[in-house]
């Protein structure tokens, strides 16, 4: 299991290849990559703040819950902080399992929990100003599936 909270960029493809390589018991690898998106036009950058110390622990706890719930061979979580330009990967998760359903469900579970239970806060810097991204009721509702 690899969990990385980092300021620098990462290469999602290289991470996926390293994660998938040499697994003889794994039939399914699912990855999710979150990318800085221009939601309303005029986005210049995304600034991501986090809670050093708590972040790693919160992610590890979410990953442990996923491992307890699904039969997974491995989990990868990478999440950046700092200032990220438009179009750059913010974070990725990957799951490896014998079967595709477990890999898909665990990846969705990880995303749903990372979204609203890991201490990250996003601020959008646009040409007309800055504002903190607000959590949506849908983000909280997503947890009720699990």
């Amino acid at each position: 299991m690899k969990i990385s909270v980092q300021e620098g960029p990462f290469d999602a493809g290289a991470e996926l290849d390293a994660f998938s390589h040499g697994r003889h018991e794994v039939g399914a690898v699912v990855s999710f990559t979150g990318i800085v998106r221009d939601r309303e036009g005029g986005l210049v950058a995304m600034e991501i703040e986090h809670y050093p110390g708590m972040t790693e622990k919160a992610i590890a706890k979410i990953a442990e819950k996923a491992r307890a719930r699904w039969d997974l061979a491995d989990i990868l979580v990478i999440h950046r902080f700092g200032s990220l330009p438009l179009g750059q990967p913010i974070m990725m998760v990957a799951t490896a399992a014998a079967h595709r359903r477990a890999a898909f469900e665990a990846a969705e579970y990880l995303m749903d929990y990372l979204k609203s239970r890991a201490p990250f806060w996003k601020k959008e810097v646009t040409r007309s100003g800055e504002h903190w991204v607000e959590a949506t009721p849908e983000d909280e509702d997503a947890l009720s599936r699990w």
């Binding site: 622990k57 806060w121 983000d139």
Partner: protein, 82 residues
């Protein structure tokens, strides 16, 4: 002495990322009351507690929780990772 940490717009409204204070507050809610009474910027940050989340020693917690033995209290808005 307890360490208080602020994130995102809570940090911006209060104007500092962390501070150490001496407090007799028994619960998080008591601490919030005490901070609110300090200065306008605290009152502004804590005006709507339902918009805030709290972590005690880096674990998500509740406003009714006891501060007994706690070294670090963090206040922040709902998280927006992923």
């Amino acid at each position: 002495m307890i360490e208080i940490v602020y994130f995102a717009w809570v940090r911006e409204r209060i104007g500092l990322p962390r501070e150490r204070i001496e407090t007799g507050a028994a619960t998080v809610a008591d601490l919030v009351e005490e901070l609110r009474g300090r200065e306008e910027r605290y009152a502004a940050a804590f005006s709507d507690v339902s918009a805030l989340r709290v972590a005690l020693d880096q674990e998500l917690s509740e406003f009714e929780a006891s501060l007994s033995g706690v070294r670090e209290v963090a206040f922040f808005p709902p998280m927006t990772g992923g």
